[in-house]
């Protein structure tokens, strides 16, 4: 006779949510925001090689907060999904909304059916074109998906950082100002983040098919200086 104790569904969901939130809170946050010419993603990342912000496709970027191995697996799946979609159909048919929905379904499934919920939050950004608008999708650990109009924050201190950023940047402005305010919001009032610990990726049209660029440290310094 085995000893199974009854756990109410409410309690089970609460426990799982607490577990995931704790895991996510251990990681640093990420701010993604529209600026006048594109989308910028700013992450606090002490590692120069384990990326939080990455390219998915010609006009789609990805950011992950929480457990590295878990969000990096999602990033890889995103690159694979986008490249095989573009190969089967056409490059213009690859849509960030579809990818965000798959992420939401997967995170939702893992939350209710997995051995443990994934301790991650992810962002999918799309640079607009004649076919599609510029979009930011935020997907939480339990599969909640939000379509954010101007900026989005994921990770441990998301709520506090969101407050700071929304007050500092009430509308879409240029890259330098957006970047400076995002870094200030990430750091908070008592801290400054050294430039080598910043990871910044942008989606911006430069007349080429691919629009993603990861900004080098000297370019970040230059932008923070002029902002």
């Amino acid at each position: 006779m085995s000893n199974y104790f009854y756990v109410s569904p409410e309690q089970l969901i609460k426990d799982r949510a607490e577990f995931a939130q704790k895991g996510i809170a251990r990681g640093r946050s990420i701010v993604a925001s529209l600026y006048d010419r594109g989308v910028v993603m700013v992450a606090e990342n002490p590692s120069a090689s384990l990326n939080k912000v990455s390219e998915i496709y010609d006009r789609i970027a990805f950011a992950g907060a929480g457990k590295y191995n878990e969000y990096d697996r999602l990033r890889e799946a995103g690159v694979r999904w986008a490249d095989s979609m573009g190969f089967t159909y056409a490059r213009e048919d690859v849509d960030a909304r579809a990818l965000a929905n798959y992420y939401a379904q997967h995170l939702g499934d893992m939350f209710t059916e997995g051995q443990k919920p994934l301790e991650v939050e992810v962002l999918v950004a799309q640079l607009g074109s004649a076919l599609r608008p510029t979009k930011l999708f935020r997907i939480l650990y339990e599969g909640t998906i939000a379509d954010e109009p101007r900026f989005s924050v994921i990770g441990g201190d998301a709520e506090v950082i969101r407050e700071r950023f929304t007050r500092a940047v009430p509308e879409v402005v240029d890259l330098a100002t957006t970047l400076r305010q995002a870094v200030t919001a990430l750091a908070g009032p008592e801290r400054t983040i050294p430039i080598p610990e910043l990871e910044v990726g942008i989606l911006e049209d430069r007349g080429e098919r691919r629009t993603f660029t990861r900004l080098a440290d000297d370019r970040i310094a230059e932008l923070l200086g002029e902002g």
Binding site: E55, V79, D83, Y102, H106
Partner: protein, 264 residues
């Protein structure tokens, strides 16, 4: 198509070929008929700062199937891939190579080395050619930023990959192009001499091989010419290429079609 997640033991890694096979969307490399349109002569020549390439524009079956095929494509910023053999397969191969190199770059956040790119194509060519009576033979050329030099890789029908230190030709007009290249090639050609030699060699191929298209002054269609150097891949404008072939044509008209003792 759902989210492609794999267990670590079944992960295809950064290979796009491996991914398409795992997902069941890999191209069919089955046999083709023998009279499908095929594309003809492409040349790559090393010069002091990189590689120049030239390719004709004609696809030939039992008759001329197309007069404006582009047989040289940019596989990425520093790499070009050209095709001869079945046009349909070749164009698919170029597209597949482009996607593969970009896929690798995004998956690993590093650029595949030029030699890595050359080796990656071997099994694809092998698989295609062993099942088809009309083989596809590509030519891979690029600027290698680590060696700071142009490099050329050619393939045999079984997928073997060989690096060439001087020049390479593919397609049915190869014997004629090769003749001109052997006479005209020198180590440390400058860009202008490299372009002129490649244009002359292609002119010879178009002159002698019925499946290779020469410059078409009636329709204004000219061979495609490409330069790969430290700044990357660039295709020469149609005016620039047209002018070069017009000059060659005038010289040949003066000598009534005889190339003469020196390369003209």
């Amino acid at each position: 198509m759902g989210l492609p997640l794999f267990r670590p033991t079944h992960d295809p890694g950064p290979s796009f070929l491996g991914l398409t096979e795992a997902l069941g969307v890999a191209p069919e490399w089955g046999p083709t008929g023998s009279d499908v349109p095929h594309a003809t002569t492409v040349i790559a020549v090393r010069y002091a700062q990189g590689v120049v390439m030239a390719g004709d524009r004609q696809a030939t079956g039992a008759y001329i199937a197309s007069r404006d095929v582009k047989k040289i494509g940019a596989a990425d910023r520093f790499t070009a891939i050209a095709i001869s053999g079945s046009a349909a397969r070749g164009i698919e191969l170029v597209k597949f190579a482009q996607l593969s190199f970009e896929h690798y770059e995004k998956m690993t956040d590093t650029v595949l080395s030029l030699e890595g790119k050359a080796n990656y194509l071997s099994p694809i060519i092998q698989r295609n050619n062993l099942s088809s009576p009309l083989p596809v033979l590509p030519l891979l050329a690029g600027y290698d930023p680590t060696q700071r030099a142009g490099r050329i890789f050619e393939y045999d029908g079984a997928g073997g990959c060989y690096e060439r230190t001087d020049f390479a030709t593919i397609g049915s007009g190869s014997p004629f192009a090769e003749g001109a290249l052997r006479l005209g090639f020198r180590a440390d050609l400058d860009l202008e001499s490299g372009l002129e030699l490649a244009a002359l060699a292609l002119y010879e191929a178009g002159d002698n091989d019925p499946s290779t298209g020469g410059p078409d002054f009636v329709r204004g269609i000219f061979p495609m010419m490409v330069v790969l150097d430290a700044t990357g891949f660039r295709e020469l404008s149609i005016d620039e290429v047209g002018e070069r072939f017009r000059r060659i044509n005038e010289r040949r008209a003066e000598s009534r079609g005889v190339a003469g003792g020196s390369l003209r």
